[in-house]
């Protein structure tokens, strides 16, 4: 490998290179960090941001953004919990209601973005306030407690796998299949690459774009439900500011804010990488307060690499006139 191609490789796979370095570093510092228990813990704790990041990747693929995920994480489980309490429903029904509530929130976003043509940033900024406000209105600012079933579900195992990991894996798999294996997924990529051309090629762009926001909110509601199932109660501030964590995880996983680039696996890796750094710093005894700084640094590097990648693409795209 020449130095040129080595740099090219590093730029293209920046996240994986960083991930490998991080694992290597912490492994050397504290070998127990690479043990199965610690690794399992990392994945379990990544599931919250990770599930939402898979949904966010769909939105970023179209070149949009969804700032309302933090509030969807709160309102989705809340509505589910209230329904469970009111109608004496089980956890499975609650889960379905949470996801449906997410779908409804996504539809709301999509109506403004797709139909009324307001830019996604503003719409989802407004719904960030709206969804949370609605939740707190319903609870009168009180903390909401779930019954015991909820925790036994959240902390339980199926097939020997902790529930959160199971949901994380399922979301990632479904996300992957949707993105890579369905007409819808490929049209999302086409839309993000060239909206005009997608329209010309006969892609139903409004419908594709609407579904992207619906998926994102549904994933956010699901991620909130899965985490709340482990805690058993829901505070009014739950999920606040999480939109940035979710976007950061997706971008770290290779999704571009300019659209057209990103994968479900990337979102998983991005979320896991952030969690690895967090836990690694705990493991090596670094001051807790300094951890977000490391997180910031890593995102910075990833974005810088993304810029470099974009720059290279643009150079490639420049017309050459002379035969080479």
């Amino acid at each position: 490998m020449t130095p040129q191609t080595a740099i090219d490789f590093a730029v293209r796979n920046a996240t994986y290179v960083i991930f490998a370095c991080v694992l290597l570093y912490f492994g050397l510092q504290a070998p127990a960090f690479l043990g199965p228990e610690s690794l399992g813990n990392i994945i379990k704790q990544s599931s919250f941001v990770g599930i939402a990041a898979v949904g966010m990747t769909f939105v970023l693929l179209t070149g949009g953004i969804d700032l309302s995920v933090g509030s969807a994480m709160y309102l989705g489980p809340l509505l589910a919990g209230m329904a469970m309490q009111a109608f004496g429903l089980g956890v499975a029904e609650g889960l379905a209601i949470a996801v449906l509530a997410g779908v409804a929130m996504g539809v709301f976003n999509a109506v403004f973005i797709v139909w009324l043509r307001v830019i996604p940033f503003i719409v989802t900024l407004a719904t960030l306030f709206l969804f949370r406000g609605m939740g707190v209105w319903l609870t009168s600012s009180q903390q909401f407690d779930f019954n015991e079933d909820m925790r036994s579900f959240g902390l339980g195992h199926s097939f020997g796998i902790p529930t959160p990991i199971l949901f994380f894996a399922a979301t990632a798999l479904i996300g992957y299949v949707l993105m890579a294996r369905t007409t819808f997924g490929r049209q999302v990529y086409a839309l993000g690459n060239d909206r005009e051309a997608a329209h010309k090629a006969g892609v139903n762009t409004p419908w594709v774009e609407a579904r992207v926001y619906i998926l994102c909110s549904a994933c956010a509601a699901l991620s909130g439900f899965v985490l709340i199932a482990q805690i058993g109660r829901l505070d009014t501030g739950f999920g606040e500011g999480r939109e940035f964590d979710v976007i950061a995880a997706a971008v770290l996983g290779g999704a571009s804010l300019f659209g057209g680039v990103g994968t479900a696996m990337g979102a998983v890796v991005g979320a896991t990488l952030i969690q690895t750094v967090k836990l690694g710093l705990v493991f090596t005894g670094v001051n807790l307060y300094l951890q977000p700084m490391m997180q910031g640094l890593i995102i910075f590097i990833a974005v810088l690499m993304d810029g470099a990648r974009e720059h290279r693409l643009q150079l490639d795209r420049k017309r050459t006139i002379r035969p080479n």
């Binding site: 830019i119 960030l128 707190v136 009168s140 300094l290 640094l297």
Partner: protein, 376 residues
Amino acid sequence: MTETETSPRRGLGARAADLFLSDYFVLYMSLAYVAVLAPFLPVLLTPGNVVNVMSNMWPLLIVAIGQTFVLAIGGIDLSQGSTIALTSVVGAMLIAVSANPANLDLAPIWGTILTENGGPLAGVPGNVAMGIAAMLVVAVLVGLINGAAIAIFQMPPFMVTLVTLITISAFTIWMTQSENVANLPEGFIALGKGDIVSVYFGAKDESKIARKVIYSAITYPMVIAVSVAIIAHVLLSRTVFGRYVMAIGINRKAAEISGVPVRRVIILVFVISAVCAALASILYSARLEAGRPSLGEGNFLLDVIGAAVIGGTSLFGGKAKIIWTFFGVLFFVLLSNTLNLMNLSSFQVDMVKGGVILAAALMDVLRTRLMRERTR
């Protein structure tokens, strides 16, 4: 070629459209809002409440002005809130007159910068001015980092300022281990509360006047915020720099080809944004009588952007006026205040805020369409 001649017989619709398109629309809306609510909420127009609305308005206005410059070039600055916290802590730890080891002895700044006898500037003549200068220097540095990454490395402003947001707040919280730095000198605290002119509405022959019936009419925060607003207005609408800012926001490529120093202007805009955050930080810290690492957290920044958008500033750049931001902030603060007076919780206030931002965005879509029809 169209000339919109004002003919004497213009319809009501056209006049309503004029009102809608006017710079003062949000002000009219605010006034109408107050007029509608005042009969039901008598407390709204009491001097005490007016003072309250204004004291909430000034620091937010300063931050929003900084953000307006960034929005004008089509960027966004998410790091303003964390800059407020950082500068607040930096200023406080330098000028605090004493400190309590009970809650601060775990902080890295304890013993090195801050001791029981306060910060290094405690008791030094001119300490308040020096502390403020230090806060501004820190802000300039933050702005330079943001601006350089965006202008030179062409990274998206959203991600760059998100990273500075995360990093700066972590750093601030680490420095203080989440503890407030209190015991600030009187001279500094006066900046947040000090009245320059006060008003007393009671009877004149009263021998002792209780403090709570004296209302501050003109305060330091007001003077500072209004000065910042005037300077910013002049800068944005009357100087060559302001022309460059708008040119970059409307069409960066054309600006570059026309010889606008694009990189320099972008960097400067982010410095302005950070400096405005530091100025607001002075007001917040002085009012709370402490350097707080938790300032500007949570949805604060979304408030700022919401206020700017309600005023009419476009997120696409090239469409921004300080006066719009002024009215946007006024309306936003009024809204929070009235909803609080109606005994709604802060979260219900958020819900209404969300609705208002959406409505403002829809109005903007409508306004753009109207404008297009007029210039056709």
